[in-house]
Each structure stands twice: as structure tokens, then as C-alpha cells.
């Protein structure tokens, strides 16, 4: 007979670190991992962030996407030593929107709310990258057409954002809903 598992969550930046520092979700973080470590593993393993996901490690799927400044960037191959701009992960999107609105906090970025309203996720594994891509797109193009959304999610380098569950249709609707909410 074996027992079950109780679960304790503990979040936040690592207390220890090396000389390298990066800014993630508005806070400075001293990197403990070796400089060649891809940003993804620093975010997930060292900082305990769960938004960016490991999908391919090849910049081919988009699951690991973060914002670098305002640009959607793949974190799975980018050595942490080459991170030169502030990083925002899915966890940081509400803070980004709060800053934009000049308020202290918001619970959700409009893109996240739109994802709930349109019931986008199925398994949800790719949706981190999809939401990050949506924020990037809406920053550049506040009112994208369906064709522009398809183009952005497909043809923005380094690769298309892939979904295996088949949520593309819902994503297009959610990006347009978020666009209205952010207007």
C-alpha cells in the first residue's frame, strides 16, 4: 500500500546565481546555469516558470515562445548569454497589460481572456506560443484580418506555430476577439 501525493507550489526567482543577469517578467534574475544553456531551461528549471514549453528544441513548433522586448522569440535554442532584451513569458502577460493600462495589476491579459471566451485550448500544450504570438501580432497590427492572422502564425520566422489538436480556427477567432477587447 502506498500513499498519495500532497502538492506544494513554490514560485519565484532563484536565490543563487552567477554573474549573468536577465530580466524576466519585470524582475532581474541572476543566472545560475551555464551561459550556453538555452533560455528555455533557465526559465523552466531555474526560475520555475511553466508558460514556455519544450516542443522540439529546434525552433520548429513555437511551444517555447516568449516575448523578447515585444518580439515573439523561441527560447529553446537561444543561449541565455545571448539574451539582450527583457523577457516576458506567459506568466508575465497580465503584468504587461497592467503596465500598458497604467494600473497596478490585472488578472488576465485580454489575449488570455479571449482564449477562455473562445474556449481555444484542447490539450493546451501549444497555446503558450499561440498567445505569445498573438500579443506580438496585436502590438504590430491592432486589428488584423483573418488572413493576416493566418499569415502571422504561419510565416513569421523561424517557423509556423504548430497545433496538433486542431485549434487553429478557434485561435483566429480569439485573436480577433482580443483585438476588440484591446481597442
Amino acid at each position: 500500500m502506498v500513499g498519495g501525493a500532497a502538492l506544494l507550489a513554490e514560485r519565484g526567482a532563484s536565490a543563487q546565481g552567477g554573474p549573468l543577469a536577465i530580466t524576466v517578467n519585470g524582475k532581474s534574475h541572476r543566472v545560475a546555469s551555464s551561459p550556453d544553456t538555452p533560455l528555455l531551461y533557465v526559465l523552466r528549471d531555474e526560475m520555475g516558470l511553466r508558460g514556455p514549453k519544450f516542443g522540439c528544441g529546434l525552433q520548429q513548433c513555437g511551444a517555447c515562445a516568449v516575448l523578447m522586448g515585444s518580439k515573439e522569440t523561441r527560447s529553446c535554442m537561444l543561449p541565455v548569454s545571448q539574451v539582450k532584451a527583457a523577457v516576458t513569458t506567459l506568466e508575465g502577460l497580465p503584468g504587461l497589460w497592467a503596465q500598458h493600462k497604467g494600473v497596478a495589476t490585472v488578472a488576465l491579459h485580454p489575449v488570455q481572456q479571449a482564449w477562455i471566451d473562445e474556449q481555444v485550448p484542447q490539450c493546451g500544450y501549444c497555446q503558450n506560443g499561440m498567445m505569445v504570438m498573438a500579443v506580438d501580432l496585436l502590438t504590430r497590427n491592432a486589428k488584423p484580418s483573418a488572413a493576416e492572422i493566418r499569415d502571422a502564425f504561419t510565416n513569421t520566422p523561424p517557423s509556423a506555430h504548430l497545433c496538433r489538436c486542431g485549434t487553429y480556427d478557434s485561435i483566429i477567432k480569439a485573436v480577433q476577439r482580443a483585438s476588440s477587447m484591446m481597442a
Binding site: V2, C56, I116, Q119, H161, L162, T167, Y168
Partner: protein, 760 residues
């Protein structure tokens, strides 16, 4: 560390007769209401699982909330929400009061594997009966408390009323476990044929207020905020990261493992299971990429480009699926003969996150496995066998995972099987994370198949003979990779191909044969397996339906009849007829022969329509695809896809609509892009560049769903039926647009362009 699991030292004990209530501890977040945790928080042991005890399935808490437990899991289809709807409906409580516990071998009864479109059809039907019995049991308690016969009681929102007197469910159970008023009987516990018998009668569907509603999915908010815990997120104190170095060829064995110098990682070898383990994940990845493991050469596969010839040459028993009338003499005598060969490739499930699991095998002989498996109890038994212990010593905790579409159904979890062996070896918890190439090469694929089709028509265009002869490698090989590589003897396996799916057409003189092939390469591999396969979303029926429905279209064309009318003339099942008509009507089907009058293999923008029908596990679905082609590139633009579906009683319309969209987009991807390529040694389509998926730009412009509700007919599955429709409907729509019939999947731009050029 983002998330730490502290395993309590308490052990599960028996508490069936104690009469003590397991109290919800307020400090435990709602999303984490594992009953084991509840029990420990309350300082009591957790009762053993006994499916004949109501308390195993349902706990009514003093505050009126309800915890219900199912051995099934939610793979992203919305099972958690739909099952809670069923429970809330039968109990007469608000939907928001019900929390589902899924897939925890300590806490959830074994309802079999979450596969084959069975969660609503089987597990949901079982839970409906259990919930009905729970409601009846609560009414028995209320009858005593309110001194009123049960017949004089009414229930609304968890409150029982008798005249002016009321009693909440919470007040009825306070201080006791809810015990069934009459015995619950279980037959075939844990199997597909499991039957639950109770005395209480479930509600009539005409009374439903929660079932049938598009209730938003309860898992979605957590998935957009990162509150959801995926198995990839699980971290255990003392855990090591592992990367497994899989064999070079499918049947290769280790000749030398080499060494790592100047690395923080360690090499672990158990037979042919070779892994690099490290405290830091990146050290494990780097170590695995630099370690020079030498493998024996193995070349037991045919080339994927020679797959058809290899399948045809294989010796295998031939199973007769249908033998009606006399095919050969009728075919020979027919006025018009049609014959064609169809082919499907090996395909990937294509989990967007490669396999991942954590295992903690302890020195006391117990083990905990963290997995996104489709069958926690199945994995529990498998791990117990691997460890030479009893299932009671192994707990499997299910977590969210990347959608797996059958990949973790019978091959429960390869990564878990490897993590268990590595954890046992090193005496620490181990997290195995496959890299993309591990998943693309080593996932058990969907099989490639071959189909010879022949049909005869009389002078009036009536079908008088039909033959479908299929060469099918297995849909499933249940070998777990870890023990096979480690050389552990596991239970025997019989991986041979099988036909799936009924032919609804009333064609006379029908002969359907299946060559039940063994696995490619299995005969010469030291592991016993070759190119492994496991159930891929509507396994077998996907391939059978492609050939069948596209060839029905060929018969209609030969008969110079409208493909819809041709089908309707040879169907008698009213539900099949209804979905075809509904899809055609909603799509604006043009009633005419195919190809269209102006069909051309060279015209840019040539457009066409195609239709297909399937009956999958009790659910009827039909689809109309409208597409346009660019012959200069071979690219297909899916203009609209319309699916009409009848799955009996509808539980959640929105969830069904999203499942249909999922089926359509995923199989548009399979039909247009996907093929596992292999050389004589192993798979060569190792990443998303060599195994591309459909992109958003290629997704259908419009997807329409028409849901036909039959409340009087028990619910059947919705995750699989519509996957069968896209490939044949696309094939027929290309034919309609161009007059060229493509019969070998996938219809990549290169294939389409070549096909149209050849047909011009």
C-alpha cells in the same frame, strides 16, 4: 523549483466500516482535491478502492460540494467537464458544485483505458448509474430525516424538500460516508465490457437541464494562466534529468557506450537502455548529444518507398470480413468494371510535446509514477510487472499532457517505463524527457496500409459486385520500450493487423478481406518488435474508410450518378442517411455527377466538392469538403468543410463542435502532409521539417458542424468519427475539380502537382 511533490508518510488503510467522514481541508486548493490529500489533511487513512462502495466513486461534502472520481482522464477533449455534467445532472446539484478527480490509482476506480471513444459512452454511462444511486441514497436519508416517504420528496440544487421542510445534501451526509441504499454490482471491473448495476433509475433525458448545455470547460482557465500542471512541469525532490539514447536502428544493440569526460552528467546502461543523467537538464542534453554510443547495424525494414510491395509480399493469414453473395462471378459478368489500389502511409500521433514522465522507485519497493498516460491502472500493472512487485506497491498519478490521440493508450507510456528502470538503478527520482527525434522515430506509429478495390456495375449503373482487399500491419503493438531495451521479459504480444469499421452499403455480392500482417521488421529484431504501432485516432477505420469512401465515389462516377444520390440509394440505415443529407444540405451540395463539367487538371483555382460517410463506434458522421487547387504548385486550399454528426444524446454541444474541428484539422494535416519515412534501419522523418504538420494558413477557411441530437439514444463517442472523413472527401473533391483521382496518401503539393501533370 516551481512545483514540489512531498509524499506523505501515511499509508492507505481500510476505512470502510469506521463511519468517519473524510473531511475536506480548507487549506487544500480546489484544483488539488485529491482525496488522498484530503484524508491526510484530516488525519485519517484513505479507504481502499472498492468499486461496489458508493464512497469510492462519489463523496458528498458537508458544504454540499461533490467530489466524483473516474479512472478515465481528460486528453484535451473536455472529459472532465462532460463527466461532471453527467454527475451534476443525476445528483440534482449545480454543475459548479462537482469536482472530478481523474486518473489517480490511489483514488479513482478502474474504468478501463481512455480510448476508443469510450469516456462518455462507457465511463460516463457508469458514472450516471452511480450518481443515480447516490441521489436515491440521499433521498433515503432525507426520507428519514424529514419523516416523509421518498415519493413525497423533491430535489433542487442539492436541497431536498418535503412540504415546508428542507434538508441539504451536505446536512444529510454530515458525519458519515454516503453508503448506497441498495447494492452496487460490478461485472468485468476495469475492462471494456465492465457493467455497473444499480437499483436506482437514471433520469429521463427529457428532464435534463445540465446535460446538453455548452458549459465552458473547467480546465481551460488553468491552461491559459499556467496553473495547469503538465507532466512536463512535475519536479520531485532529488530528481535527476535523463535523456535516453535510443538505438540507431530499430533492432540495433549496444556494442559500446563510450564515456563522458568533463561532464556533470553520468551514463547509465541497463542492457540496451542507455541514458545520460544529470542534476541539470542541459547537462543531460549535452551529455547525450556528445556521448558516442556504438550500435550494431540492423537493416530489417523495407524502404518506405517500397512499403506497398513489402506489404503485398508479406505472408499472413487472410481474414474474411464480409462475404455476401458471389463476388467473383458477379464481377466477371458485370457490364462495367472498376478497380483501383489505395495506399496510406505510416503516420505519427505527433504529440506536440515529446514523451515525458517522472518515476520514483524507492528502496522500500514502492514506486510513484507521474504520467500523462491514457490508462493509469494499465501503467500501474505494467510497472509492477517490471519491478516484480504487486500493483498495490505502485501508484500512478495522471497529469495533463500534450494531446496524444492514442499514443499513450496501449503503449501506456514509454518514457515512464524508461524512467522506472533508471530510477530503480540510480536510487533517485528520474525525469525522462524525450527529444523531438526520439518521439518522431520511436513513437509507435499508425500503420501504412494497402487496399485493392474492385467493383462491378450492371448496364443501368447499379452496383452488382464489391471487393475490398486490405493489407494491414498491426494497429497496435503494446510493447513498452523501456523493458524491451533493458531485456526484461514482459507478457506475450500478438501484434497483427486488423480491419476496423462496418461497411454500411447494401451492395450485393460483397467480399471484404484483410491480410492480418505482422509488424514490419519484427521477425529479425532482437527485441521482438519492428516498426512499432499503436492506436492512432480511429485506428484501422481511418485507412479502411479512406479506400472505401473514395472508391464508392469511383463507382458513382462510373455509374454517372451524383455521389450523394448513389450513396443514398444503397443505404438503409436512417441515421446514416440523415447525416449525409444534413451535411449535403448545410454545405450546399451541388447535385450532379463528378467530375464537374468544367473539370480540368490545369486550370488554376479549379474547385471541387467531395463527400464521405462513416459509422465509428456507434456515431454517424458525414462530411462535405469544398476545395480549390493550384496546379502549378499542387497546393490544396480547403475552402469549407461541413460535418454532420449523430452521436445519440448530446452532453455538451460546444465540446462536440470543438472535437469535430479537431478531427477535421488534424486529418487535413494527415491527408495533405503526413508520412513517416524510413530506410532499412529506422525512421528518417525525425522532426517537423521532415514530418510537416498543417499550418494555420492551410487550415480550412470555414468549418461548419451540424449536430443531430437523439436524446433517446445513448451517447457515443465524438473524438474519433470525423477523422475518417477528410482523406476520402479530399480525394473525391480533387477528382471533382480536375478529373484526376489520387489514391495514395498524403496529397502533398509535390504529389498533387505530379498527379495533375500526369492526368493533363
Amino acid at each position: 523549483m516551481s512545483l514540489i511533490y512531498e509524499r506523505p508518510v501515511s499509508r492507505r488503510g481500510f476505512l470502510k466500516t469506521g463511519g468517519a467522514l473524510v473531511v475536506m481541508a480548507a487549506s487544500i486548493p480546489a484544483a488539488l482535491r485529491l482525496d488522498v490529500a484530503e484524508a491526510i489533511a484530516a488525519g485519517v487513512a484513505y479507504p481502499a478502492l472498492d468499486p461496489t462502495q458508493l464512497s469510492t466513486w462519489i463523496t458528498v461534502h458537508a458544504d454540499g460540494t461533490v467530489t466524483a472520481r473516474s479512472g478515465h482522464v481528460d486528453l484535451g477533449q473536455g472529459n472532465r467537464t462532460a463527466l461532471a455534467q453527467i454527475i451534476a445532472e443525476e445528483l440534482d446539484v449545480a454543475f459548479s458544485k462537482v469536482t472530478m478527480i481523474l486518473g489517480n490509482t490511489n483514488a479513482t476506480p478502474n474504468q478501463g483505458v481512455t480510448a476508443g471513444s469510450t469516456t462518455i459512452r462507457l465511463a460516463g454511462a457508469q458514472l450516471r448509474l452511480i450518481a443515480a444511486e447516490a441521489r436515491a441514497s440521499l433521498l433515503t436519508l432525507a426520507s428519514a430525516k424529514l419523516a416523509t416517504p421518498v415519493s413525497g420528496l423533491t430535489v433542487s440544487n442539492g436541497v431536498v424538500t418535503a412540504g415546508t421542510k428542507t434538508a441539504s445534501y451536505g446536512s444529510l451526509v454530515e458525519g458519515q460516508i454516503l453508503t448506497a441504499a441498495t447494492p452496487i454490482e460490478i461485472k468485468g471491473y476495469g475492462g471494456f465490457g465492465m457493467q455497473v448495476s444499480v437499483t436506482a433509475k437514471p433520469k429521463s433525458p427529457t428532464q435534463y437541464t445540465t446535460v446538453g448545455q455548452s458549459i465552458p470547460r473547467v480546465d481551460i482557465p488553468d491552461k491559459v494562466t499556467t496553473a495547469a500542471t503538465y507532466v512536463q512541469d512535475v519536479k520531485v525532490p532529488g530528481m535527476l534529468h535523463a535523456r535516453v539514447i535510443h538505438p540507431q536502428g530499430i533492432g540495433s544493440t549496444v556494442t559500446s557506450v563510450g564515456t563522458l569526460s568533463g561532464s556533470a552528467a553520468q551514463v547509465v546502461q541497463i542492457g540496451n537502455l542507455v541514458a545520460v543523467l544529470a542534476e541539470r537538464e542541459w547537462d543531460a542534453i549535452k551529455g547525450a548529444s556528445t556521448l558516442s554510443v556504438k550500435w550494431s547495424s540492423w537493416n530489417g525494414l523495407p524502404l518506405s518507398s517500397n512499403m506497398a510491395a513489402a506489404l503485398r509480399a508479406a505472408t499472413a493469414p487472410i481474414k474474411s470480413v464480409t462475404d455476401r453473395g458471389s463476388f467473383q462471378s458477379s464481377y466477371d459478368a458485370s457490364a462495367k468494371k472498376v478497380s483501383a489500389t489505395y495506399q496510406t502511409p505510416f503516420e505519427n500521433h505527433g504529440m506536440l510535446g515529446p514523451s515525458c514522465a517522472v518515476a520514483d522507485v524507492r528502496s522500500d519497493g514502492t514506486a510513484t509514477v507521474y504520467s500523462s498516460t491514457q490508462y493509469p491502472q494499465g501503467l500501474q500493472a505494467q510497472v509492477a510487472t517490471m519491478l516484480g512487485t504487486s500493483p498495490q506497491q505502485v501508484e500512478v498519478l495522471w497529469f495533463e499532457g500534450p494531446g496524444c490521440y492514442g499514443r499513450l493508450s496501449a503503449v501506456y507510456d514509454d518514457a515512464a517505463s524508461e524512467a522506472v528502470l533508471l530510477s530503480k538503478k540510480v536510487g533517485r527520482p528520474v525525469r525522462v524527457q524525450w527529444m523531438r527525434q526520439d518521439e518522431n522515430i520511436w513513437e509507435p506509429h499508425g500503420p501504412g496500409t494497402l487496399h485493392d478495390m474492385s467493383g462491378g456495375l450492371d448496364a443501368s449503373g447499379n452496383p452488382v459486385a464489391w471487393k475490398h482487399e486490405a493489407w494491414m500491419p498491426p494497429n497496435n503493438d503494446s510493447t513498452a520500450l523501456g523493458p524491451a531495451l533493458a531485456g526484461l521479459k514482459m507478457a506475450g504480444r500478438a501484434a497483427i493487423g486488423g480491419w476496423t469499421g462496418p461497411n454500411l452499403y447494401t451492395f450485393a455480392n460483397a467480399l471484404e478481406l484483410a491480410h492480418a500482417l505482422p509488424e514490419l521488421g519484427a521477425a529479425t529484431s532482437p527485441y521482438g518488435f519492428g516498426l512499432r504501432t499503436t492506436f492512432l485516432r480511429s485506428p484501422g477505420q481511418y485507412q479502411i474508410t479512406f479506400a472505401q469512401e473514395a472508391f464508392v465515389d469511383e463507382m458513382a462516377a462510373a455509374a454517372k450518378q451524383d455521389p450523394l444520390q448513389f450513396r443514398l440509394q444503397h443505404l438503409t440505415d436512417p441515421r446514416a442517411i440523415a447525416v449525409l443529407k444534413a451535411a449535403a444540405s448545410a454545405a450546399g451540395w451541388e447535385a450532379r455527377t463528378s467530375p464537374r463539367p468544367a473539370a480540368s487538371p490545369t486550370q488554376n483555382g479549379a474547385s471541387g466538392q467531395g463527400i464521405a460517410l462513416v459509422l465509428r463506434d456507434g456515431t454517424y458522421a458525414a462530411s462535405v469538403v469544398k476545395l480549390a487547387l493550384d496546379p502549378s504548385t499542387g497546393k490544396i486550399q480547403l475552402q469549407s468543410v461541413t460535418v454532420a454528426q449523430d452521436s445519440g444524446l448530446i452532453i455538451n454541444p460546444m465540446a462536440i463542435k470543438h472535437q469535430i474541428e479537431s478531427c477535421v484539422i488534424q486529418t487535413a494535416s494527415r491527408a495533405i502532409h503526413e508520412e513517416v519515412t524510413f530506410d532499412t534501419s529506422n525512421v528518417t522523418s525525425t522532426d517537423w521539417a521532415s514530418y510537416p504538420l498543417l499550418t494555420m494558413a492551410e487550415a480550412p477557411q470555414v468549418i461548419n458542424s451540424v449536430l443531430i441530437n437523439h436524446p433517446e439514444i445513448p451517447s457515443t463517442g465524438v473524438g474519433e468519427p470525423a477523422v475518417n472523413l477528410m482523406a476520402p472527401a479530399i480525394s473525391s473533391a480533387i477528382f471533382d475539380a480536375t478529373g484526376v483521382r489520387l489514391r495514395t496518401l498524403p496529397f502533398t503539393p509535390t504529389v498533387v502537382k505530379a498527379g495533375l501533370t500526369a492526368g493533363a
